[in-house]
Structure formats: structure tokens, C-alpha cells
Symmetry: D2
Subunit: 437 residues, 4 copies
């Protein structure tokens, strides 16, 4: 990192999340000397990119920050000598997401952006894009850190770490949201709590909840059992566990686990929603449209409240916090996606896991887990295998791996349904899947 | 093993399978000097035991074998100084099996004797019985071999190996049936073939099919794809894989895997069958009734053909063959259930697996596998975790483990359905589950 | 931990190190509310215990600390409801150490307190004592933390963690001394450095030296190669590595590794020393005698400088620092001895390792290592096996394990020498080895 | 394998061992249709090659075998479409071996052809040769089996398996000699015995000795303790274990383990021998010279008795037996060097081990071991690390790895001695070590 200050490139810079990222850098300007921020997007995103860039510049100006915002569709220019690259792209844009969420519903299966058959389609499109970016980085900024929060975040991070030489860390807002949710339940600050996470992206559990170091897991479970309790995730339907189930689990599941544990109920919700207000992608599309209208208001010079409704709240702040700890060699603990290397003895060494890590200038160092509790081990192992087959399918255009990946996914769980959905996915995503040509 | 010849105790001796066992010993009388065979049963089985014993004596007499058949309900007498103990008991008898198969159907889930919620209920009842037998053996015949073919065979073997000091080997007729089926497809003798098995009981795949050492797996798959192809398992409905799926798998799945891969179709078959002819347990009940009528015919002195329809064909012959190889230190290769100990690197060391083993006087020695192919690894790991949770539930009456075991089983896959089914299972099996009192 | 403040029991309280421990608590009195400190010793140590206790009380009084010092030979009284137990006992006292160091020299092998045949003899005596203490703790203070710095520290910690239910953490001053030594070399503060340790107690390497997060390992090696460089360990003879060797290693070895890598030279030094000034135990004996004369001076109210020459400098401060982080849930990083649980993938899960750990109220959580560099893996694995055999020998009086442990130790490396030394060790330590009676 | 019969290429065909190989093929001519045997050697070996070839032809003629012997220095011609390739080359010829054995003695260390510093030098020369052959095979006969018995056999096999696509199996006569030796001790046939081997080439132990399946290990140990007992290995000095040591070990060590366990005594023998009759290489040189004189006798048409004195007896017969089992898909059990893949859980997956394997047309399939007994684990792990560092050094000319490999080898065990010996080895072998240029 040079004296000139940091250069950061944000792929998918035209995203509605970008203002949160800007806010994050502004908040840290005393400790994190970002000089140049390149917002990169594809030509199809030029309009949004322009809106976001103009808004970002107003935010920076108002804050009096010494931070130059650059908008570009030339990824090479942005990556050249960058110190950090953040990725928040969506391969195929929102229209693809909407397709991803509809196809499974046709077969009476859950359609979701990051998991199940929808997440699978998303992964097939996104893995080649992530690898492309990382290969560009190998040429243009081989020592830069890749901070990925494109979805499916853990899977993409694993693809990059196993198939390129780039140092990548994957991010998700779920852990930080779980901690914040818990801090509300215990009326304490997030710093008073430690959640001991085990799992992979969108499939994690807090094994233990510690309040000032004291184990309050059982208490936390009771608080969740309390039906009045409300979750933070805007994008996940409200369906509740039976207290009996949660107590027998003895851990706190991430919201996404409802898709697994409460599959029939969640499917009904998804189907009902898709009829009333459209699939989540369609809802997001209209939220985004509102946001961009708002962003065009030249009087707006701070991140608007409405962004919180978007679903990905705290994603970008998590990214800034991670960059801060790397740059400043902070040795604090954050929950990120890193190479397993034996941290979780029940997953392969080359799998990416989501885990409490010590963050310093050399990256994220997971705190040893050992063995996974038996109660969650099988589900976790099965979904990781799905991910590894999917990565293989995406990279090599391996249709056999693709069919087997879909078949064993707990949200599909049928060879014949998998076969039919795979046909739909491949044909409807043809434009984005050259590997399967 | 003493000069007096071998003493063998068969727990569940009143079973309709016993004549096959008798035939097995008669066939081997030149190489396997069985002197005393104790058929043990519980008082409720006294009548069947008498019928089978009388029939067995006629078989022995006709063959001119020097083999004494003893019928008893005193297990201690039978176990005392035994050389081999074979187990073919059914905890709770056929009526329990029928219940096991009905409960899941109520919730639109597959009801099956050895897997899913039905197999789970069976395991809860059977694990304590298996451990009881093994504990008796620790006192009465600590050096004897336990040859288990009670179901669920692998799970019970694992419980015994991890919780007692008895040397146990689990048996199943599936591998031998798959080999025989394949030999018909290739019009060759079973000895010409080698199927390289990976998996656990009722969840195995032949990774490779070798004919005279040559890899003919792809050919074997094409033969299975041929719709006219007929499977051997009498107890599994006929539903077929798509060729696309089988080719993408690239391995030969055991028939039971249809319950997993073709779950919706199999469920429909099970539901239809249960309405037309009753669940499998009910069919078996009438088959058994016919068999026992037959066995009472004092002119009958050989195993009748009808036994083959019973579903467990070749089970008992596999047991005799195993005993032969142990007694005679044969060093041949048989497919049995043994402690993993790292043979399959993707399952715990203390898990029981089903695998090609070298059999000698010191037992069954698995041929190293290494890693499981990714395509089948996730399903395999998940079901093994289910098994380990179920063993824990059965031994300690651990209701939490029970609920989590059922929830993650791919044939249940729902926390709420699992909760409801568990309530039914526990209340309807109360008499057989003192650990849950 | 109760409102009354903390109760701490120090086994081997009459040690000359105790004043450092007192100083450590005094320094932290604002953050670590120690109310009662029990100094426990055996009757043979009563005199020293009295001297140390009186001195400790003067230190406390001068500092104006609210800390009560208790001296006792009744271990039960001291352990009852303790919050922390620290162990600094020496089984068999200094005379045994002197014997440990002499016996190997007879056979032209290195005699050392913690490693080789000398450390082996020490372990045989100390393991039963450590287990005794831990078993007492199970009755009297089951939730207390055992902070062990009795030698061999890692081996004793492993024995306690695998054979009792007590939460134990092992300490050594080597890592902290290496960090301090390096901070002198780089003219920086210890906090600016991070040494990434891999290994086990007295057999660790700093894989990497980071200065403000930047990798300066190669520079650090050059600084060590500089012959003028001086190590801190008072108790290890000065013999130097060739620059060629250190560069090829690419890591920083702990001083004790000279016994392994430079065995012939170190042996010559040990032999020469033993003739000129006596073995280290004899030197220590006279240092201790001076210290106790000093401690008796009623004008002395602070830790005297001379203690630093004693060899174990910073041990006690490390203990206070660890207790502080546990009590205050600090989440800082310290290098301690903990259960491996897969942190180092090349050592058994049940082995104790020395590693950078996050310390909080739930103990020490190692940062994942993954695989050990090949260059050090073999030596590390071999010595860990030696340790595990030695623990087995000590607990069960297993003479076969003892002979094999000694034989394979790199500082013995001969079956016949091992046999002869074992005879000497067992006969000369008879009074301390009831398990071998 | 074509109808024309098998083509076999023997690299190092001019070796004095070749007649045993010829005899092996002649003995099996009914079951193993070898049509063409190519004896390949380097130009320096032309004279010996001619002598051996002529003798081989006489042997074949006398036996009336339909086997064509070809002598060539054109390796490509020999490898083209071969079915099996056997390697018995010695890189640098006997003069290099003599150097290998002398250098360590200068430093008062054991000089041995396959282990310690001598074996290390041999490995540095031989690894590139073995890889060269395997790379040629990739072009010329990619499906052929490489049967390696060049030394160090396990290490070379590991290099080939990890760095080429060739299917290789390593052979050694030690296991077969141990079995034969034991059969003499028990006055039984070799087939009555089963030795359960664990370890790596020249560092194996028989964990158990089974006679007709019965554990007679303790008896076998007593037989070895009997001082009158004589070992078979012609090339290893006679030095004896103490009964106390052997009993505490509880296993049967291969003769080469005396270099480790009885290092001081063996060193004395080696030094004495080197003065009286020369190092082993010098002895072999004169034995070979006698053998070649003998081979020139045109009346000699069968393998002469004197060959047995050569040290490598039964090597070639083991090779023929292995080829027979592969060709005929025999599924018998032989002890060979294969990829570990988890068979031994205490060695890396990518390490080659020596183990009882089932041999069929698809190669050698190790019988699962699980964990290594603790008593031998450390030594085994350490020497395997030495091997892996040595392979790395040999392939990449990595001098750092070389120095560390030598340093940690138990027969060197000193950084400074390693440094000095490495200098000698590299300079005296310059002609054979282009990677280190």
C-alpha cells in the first residue's frame, strides 16, 4: 500500500448498496486513507452507475473527505495497482434472479437467490465471472485483497481460492445481523456478545452465545422461542420453529436455515408471496427503482433510511470494517469466509467456511473449531458437497456434476425434479453459460 | 474353537429364514464342523420356533449331517461358550414393522423397514436388544463372533462395536444380490465379477464393475438403463431411473437408493401399495404365514422355493459363507459391515461401513477406499450422521438427538413433520422403548 | 467467581519464582481482584515457604494491595473453591533434577531438565503429581482453571486434559522470551511484533515474524545469524547455528532446539559445564540459595533483580497475564499450551500443542495452523510420540512404553543406551515412582 | 495386453539379478505369456548387458520357453508398447554406491545404500532417472505398469506416483524374506503364515505374526531373542537386540531397523568392516565380478547358487509374482509399495507405504491399517518426512530441503554434520546431479 493512499475497486459499483460502502469509508477516513475509489460496472449498468457515482460524490463532498470517486466500465483501469477489490456484482442482473426464483416454484420447490435450485443457477453464472475478475487481478494487482460479497458468497470465494492465486475473503451480513439481533434480545451492545459460529455461508449456526464470556445459549434459545420475537432479515418470510425443535437443536440457526428445516412451510410462503407480490427479485426490483429515484435527488447527500429495507443491510459496512482491520493490522475478530484448512475437521481442507477469524494484515485466521456437533454435521457436509459439485459444474461445464449437485441438494432431493429443472436452468440461462455451450 | 466342533447360537431362530441357514451349514458340512446349533427365540415366538426346529431337524436328517439342532428360549444356555452367534431377531415382531411402515405414510413420507422414519423406529427398538445380546456374550462367550443380520444391520453393528467388547460383523444380502444381478446381465458367473463397493448398509454404490478385472462400469450402467431390466429385490417397488441420471452418476446404486433419488415416485408407489395390498410388513405377514404352513408339512425336508420370494434371499447363505471364511482362515473377499477406521476418509473413524473385505480368522479387513466420489459423498455423510444420532438416541433415550436425527434424514427433511412423527413413534412403541420412559 | 474477589492457589508456592507472581498480581490489582492467594507446599518445603510468604506479605503491604497471602501445607484447604490454581511444583525437588541431568551424561547423552532422558525422568515423577492435583480439583474446585507451569509443561498439561475433567492451560516463558528477544533485535516494542508459532512446548518454531503485520522473517534470521547476537535463555549453553542451516530452515527455532539440531556441540558444552560448574541443577541450587538469603532480608519489599538470572524469567508474569485475560474476557492473543483438536493437522487431535491463542473467559482458543511445514514436521511428530508414550508409561507404570519412549527420543536414539539409562532412572527414582513398584 | 503375448522392458537389464528374473518368467511360462523381454542398459553397461543376455538366452533355450530376449541401449525401443516395465537400475553404478557408503563414515555416521546419508545421495541421483523413465512411459506405453525395484524403492515409487501419470508399484525383498525367515523359525510353509506389515520401505514392522490365523507374535519374538537365530539378509551386519527391547517393542522389525535402533553398534560394525573387507559396495563389486565370470561360462544354463549371496535374493521372483497376479487378476495378497491414501492414518495421503495388498488387474489395493502403534509411529513419521524432503530436493535441486532432510534423519541427527556431508555429497556427485548445478 503506497503513500498515495489506498486504491479500491468496486466491481458492480452501480449497485444500490454502494452508498453504504461510501458511508463506511467516510466514517473511517481518519484511520483508513482511501484515496481513490473506482466504481466499475458493465455497459448495461451505465445509467445506474452514473446515478450512484453522482450521489457518492455528493456524500464525499458533504463529509469533506479526501476521497476521489471514479466511475468506469473499464475493469482493467480500475484493477490496475488496486489495494483492495470489492465485488458486489450480480451475474445476469435482477432479471436472472427473478428467473432463478421462478423456475423451482414451477416444480413445487423453493426458489431462492443463494440456495437450492435458484442459488445453483446463480452460481453457474457467477463462478466464471468471479474467476475472470480474479484472473485479471493476477495480472493487474496480484497483491490486492479480493473482498467478495457477490452471492453465493462462500461458494464464489471457494472457487477463487482454489482456482487462482488471489487472496480472497468472502463476506456476508448474516453473522453481523445475528449478533445485532441477539444484542437487541439481551438489551446489550453487540460488543458484549460473542457468537461462536460454525458452518458455511448461509448455513451457519451459533453453537454458543456468550454474554461477557458467560454461556447464555439456552437463554437465547428461549428468547427466540418467544413468538413475538422478530428477525432482522428483510428477505426471508416469517415462519417459526417449534420451541421443541429449537431446544433440541441447542444452537441458533441463521435465518436461511428455515428454508431447510421448515421447507414445506417456507415453500407455501414463497408460493403465496409469488402470487401476491411476486418473488423476492421482483420486490427488490421495485425497491431498487425507488432507491435510484431517491439517489437522483441532488439534495440527498447521505445514505437514505430506505436502503435498510433492501435486505443486504450492513454488508458494505462489514466490508469497510474488514478492510480497516487488514490495513491497520488490528487483530480483532470478525466472521468471514475463509479456507477451512482443517479448522472444521468434518469438512474438506479445501472448503471455504464461515467462521470467527482474527483479522490482521495477513488476512483472516480462523479460530480452531475441531469437530462439528453431530446434530448439524450431516446437513452441513451434504450442502458443502453440493457446493463443490456446483463449482466443478460451473468451471468445466460439467453437466453430470450439475445434475448430481442439484439432485442431492436438500431443497431439491429428487433425481427427476433435478433433471427437469436443470434442463430449464441451462436453456433459460444459455446466454450466461458459455461453458455449457 | 474346540475339538468338539463348533457351537452356533442363532438369535431369532424361529424366523422363516432359518431353513436357508440350515441349508447353508449342510452344504458346508465337509469344511465347517458345526456340531450344535441353538435356535433361540422369545416366548412369544415359541410356536414358530417349534415348527422351524422340527423342519430343521428333518433337513439335517435327510442330509445325514452330524449337526444337533436345539430349540430354546433360554438365551444364556445358547450363548454359553458359543463360537459364533448369528442374530436375525426383529424387535417388536412383524406388528411393529407394520406400524413402522404406516406411521410415515400418514405424513406423506416413505415408510420403510430399514430407512427413513420406519427404519428409525426399528432402530430405537433394536439397538437396546443388540447391546443386550452383546453384553450377554461378554459374560458367556467373549471370544465368539457376532454375525448380525438383524436390521438395520449396519447401524446395529456400529452400536455393538462402539459400545461393547464383542467382535461383530454385519451382513446384508444387497451386495451379493447386486453381484448376482450383474452376473445375469453379463451372462457370466458371479466369480468373474468384482464390484467395488463404497457406502454403508442399504446406502451403497458399486463404484466400479470389473469383469475379469476389466472396467465395464459404463456397460453395466447401459444394461441397467435398458428398461426391460429387472431387479432382484422382492421388497422394493419397481420404479426406474432416467438414463440421464444414471449416466451422470456413473456408478451402480443399490436398490434402496431409489427411496432417496426417486423419493416422490417411490412414495406414490408405497401409498398405492398400502391401499391395494397393504404395506410390505403386511405382505410379509401373509407370506410368512404360508411359509410356516409349508414348514409344518412333515414331508418337507429341503428349503422350499417359496422362501426366495420372502425378500431376504441369500442373507443366511452369506452368513454361512462368512463363518466358513473365518473358521478356515480363507482370505477371500466378501462384502460386509465393519468398523471404518479410516478406510473411507470421508466418514468418521468410528463409523461402520459396508465394504469389500478380506476375511480371515481374525475377521474382516476392509480394502482401503480413500476418498468417496463427491457425487455420493454428501448423501452418505448425511445418512451416517443420522445413524449416529439415532444410536445415541436409542442408547440414552435422548429425545433431542432423536428429533434431530429424524429431521435431517433425507426421507423426512422437515423439522415439523419430524416432530409429529416422533411423537407417534414414541407413543406407539412405548412398550419397546424403556429408555424413553 | 464470587463477589468476594478471586481465590488463587499456587502449588509449589515456596518456589523462588513466587515473588514474580506476587509482583504480577500487584501490577494488575486494578483489573484483577485477587483477594486470597494460597501458597501451598509440601512439608519438605516448609522453610522456603515461610521465607517466601513473609517476603510476599512485605511486597503486598508496600504496594498497598488488598490481597491476603496464606501459607499452607494443606492442599485441600487451598484448593477448596479456588478460582485459579497455578502449579510450579518440582517433583523430587532440585536433587532429583540434578540426578536427571547427571544420568544421561554417564552415557554420553544430553542431560536436561525438560527434554531427553532427563526430561523423561522428570515426567515420570511429575505426571502422577499433576493428575493428583487435578483429581483433587475435580472434588474441591471443579470449575477452576489450572494454569500449569511445572515442567515438562506441555506434557503435563496433556496428561491432565486427557485424563481428568479439569480445564488446564500450560504455560512456558519461551514464546514470550522469543518475542522480547526479537523486539530487541528490531528495536521495537513487543506489541509491534507477531510471531506465528508452531510446535509443542520446548520444541516450537516461529514460522513467521511479522513487524506491524509485515513479514520480516528473512531479516530476523539474518539478525540471528549475526554471531554477536545474544539469546535471553539463561539456562541454555551458547552454541551457534551456521547461517547456512538457519537460512535453509527459514524459521526461528526456540533455544531448546539447539539440543536437537546441535546435539554433539551441546553435549560437549554440557559435559564441560558439568565438570567446571556442575550441571544446571547444581548451578540453580546455588542461585536459589542466594535468592532465599536475599528474600530473608526484611528490608526487601520488591522482586530483586537477581531473580532474572534464575532462568524462568517472565513465567509468572505470563501466568498473571493469562489469568487477567480469562477473568476479563479480553480476547487478546497469547501463546499457550492447549489441546490440538486439529489445529495442527500433523499431530493427533488429543495432543497438547503450543500455539498463539485467543484468550477469553472460556479459555484459550488456538488460531488454526493447518499443515506443519515439512522441514519441521518429522521432528515434531517424533517428539510428540515420545511424549505420549511417556505419559502412558508414567500413568500405568508401563515399562515397555517407557523403554520405547526413551529409545526413539532424538537425544537418545539408541535401544541399548535407552535400556541402560532406563534401569538407572527407575532405580534412582524409586521413591518417586510408585506406579513402577 | 495384446494377443501377441506380453512385452516386458527391464531397465538396468545388465544387472547381475537378471538371471533370477529370467528364471521367474520361465517358472511361470504356463500362466504368464511373456513373448518379448527387452533388457535395457546404458552404454557404460554394454559389456555386462551382453554377458547377461547371452546367459539369459541359454536359460530360455534350455527351458524350451517361447520367450525372446532382446538387448538394447535404446530405451525408447524397449518401452514402446510395453505391458510391464521393471526397473533395477543403479544411478551412478557401483562406484557411486561405494562413495555413498564412504562419505558418512568419514563423519562417524552409518553409510548405507538405501538409508541415512548414503541412501540420501542415492536418492538424489535416482529420482531424476526414475522420473525420466516414467515420462518416457507416458509417451511410449502410458498404460504399462512400472514395477520398481531400484533403490530406494519406496521413495522412487512415491516420486513417480506423485509426479507422473504412470501406474507404479514398488517392490522390496524384505517382506518376503521376513516371511521366509519366520517360516523356518516355525518350521512351516510360508503360506501358513501371515505377517501384518506396517511401515515404509526398509522401515517396516510385522505388527502381528499369524500362523494359520492364530496370533503367534509373542512366540515369534522369543524365537528372535534366541541368540542362535540367524537372519537372512546377506547385506546387514550381525548385531543383536536385547530381548528386553524386542519384548517391549512387541513387533518384528525388519533387519534394516537395526541401523536405527542399534545405531552405535551398527556403526562400529560398519567401520570395522570398511577397514577389513571394505564397505558393502566394495564387497558387492567383487561378488558381481565373480558372478559375471560365472555368467560367461557357456555351460551355465540355470541361475547359479552364488546369486543368493548377492543380497537381493527373491527380488526378481517377487517381481514375477506381482506381474503374474496383475496379469491373471489373482486377488492374492502380496506386500508391496503403494500410495497410502489413508490406509495408514498417521502418514500423509500422498505418501507411499509398504503394506499387505490385494493384487488384481487394477493393481495393488492396500488392506486398511488405521492408526500406527504409538511405539513405532514417531520414527516412521520422521523418516517419511525425510523422504518427502529428499524427493523435493532431488526434483527441484532444492538445497534447503536437502540440508533439512539430512539434518533430521535419525542416522545423521545433527545440523552441522549434515551441512558438511551435504557439501561432500553434492560435490562428489556433481556429474549425476544436474538439478543442483
Amino acid at each position: 500500500m503506497t503513500e498515495r493512499g489506498l486504491k479500491i475497486a468496486t466491481i458492480g459499483g452501480g449497485s444500490s448498496y454502494t452508498p453504504e460502502l461510501i458511508e463506511g469509508f467516510i466514517k473511517r477516513m481518519d484511520v483508513l486513507p482511501v484515496k481513490d475509489l473506482y466504481l466499475v460496472d458493465i455497459p448495461e449498468g451505465q445509467e445506474k452507475l452514473n446515478i450512484v457515482t453522482a450521489f457518492a460524490k455528493r456524500m464525499v463532498e458533504k463529509a469533506g473527505a479526501d476521497l476521489r470517486i471514479h466511475a468506469t466500465t473499464d475493469r482493467e483501469e480500475a484493477l490496475k495497482d488496486a489495494d483492495f477489490v470489492t465485488t458486489q456484482f450480480r451475474a445476469g442482473l435482477l432479471d436472472s434472479r427473478i428467473r432463478d426464483e421462478h423456475i423451482p416454484l414451477r416444480y413445487h420447490k423453493i426458489g431462492q437467490e443463494t440456495t437450492g435450485a435458484g442459488g445453483f443457477a446463480n452460481a453457474l453464472r457467477s463462478v466464471p465471472v468471479a474467476l475472470d475478475i480474479a484472473h485479471d487481478m493476477e495480472r493487474l494487482c496480484p497483491n490486492a485483497w479480493l473482498i467478495n460479497f457477490a452471492n453465493p458468497s462462500g461458494l464464489l470465494t471457494e472457487a477463487v481460492l482454489n482456482h487462482t492465486n488471489i487472496r480472497a475473503i468472502g463476506l456476508c451480513n448474516c453473522p453481523i445481523n445475528m449478533i445485532n439481533d441477539m444484542s437487541q434480545k439481551f438489551s446489550c451492545s453487540a460488543d458484549d456478545l460473542f457468537l461462536d459460529f460454525v458452518g458455511i455461508n448461509h448455513l451457519i449456526w451459533a453453537q454458543k452465545v456468550l454474554l461477557h464470556g458467560k454461556d447464555v445459549t439456552a437463554e437465547a434459545i428461549e428468547k427466540i422461542c418467544d413468538a413475538s420475537s422478530k428477525e432482522i432479515m428483510a428477505n426471508i418470510p416469517e415462519v417459526h420453529y417449534s420451541p421443541e425443535f429449537l431446544r433440541s437443536l441447542g444452537m441458533i440457526p441463521v435465518s436461511y436455515l428455515k428454508y431447510y428445516y421448515l421447507q414445506p412451510q417456507m415453500l407455501e410462503e414463497c408460493l403465496a408471496d409469488s402470487k401476491s407480490k411476486g418473488v423476492r427479485g421482483e420486490v427488490v426490483k421495485s425497491v431498487e427503482s425507488e432507491l435510484f429515484t431517491l439517489y437522483q435527488d441532488t439534495d440527498l447527500k447521505e445514505k437514505p433510511e430506505q436502503l435498510a429495507r433492501r435486505g443486504g443491510a450492513r454488508y458494505s459496512d462489514a466490508a469497510c470494517s474488514l478492510i480497516d482491520s487488514i490495513y491497520n493490522n488490528k487483530k480483532d475478530i470478525q466472521v468471514v469466509n475463509v479456507m477451512n484448512s482443517g479448522c472444521n475437521l468434518d469438512l474438506p481442507e479445501n472448503a471455504v467456511i464461515e467462521r470467527n477469524c482474527v483479522i490482521d494484515s495477513n488476512g483472516a485466521h480462523p479460530i480452531q473449531i475441531g469437530h462439528t456437533p453431530l446434530k448439524i454435521r450431516g446437513l452441513l457436509q451434504n450442502v458443502k458437497v453440493y457446493e463443490q459439485l456446483t463449482i466443478q459444474a460451473a468451471i468445466y461445464g460439467d453437466r453430470d456434476a450439475a445434475l448430481q449437485a442439484l439432485t442431492i441438494h436438500p431443497l431439491v432431493n429428487s433425481a427427476e425434479t433435478a433433471r427437469l429443472m436443470l434442463n430449464d436452468i441451462l436453456s433459460e440461462n444459455q446466454a450466461f453459460l458459455p461453458n455449457f455451450a
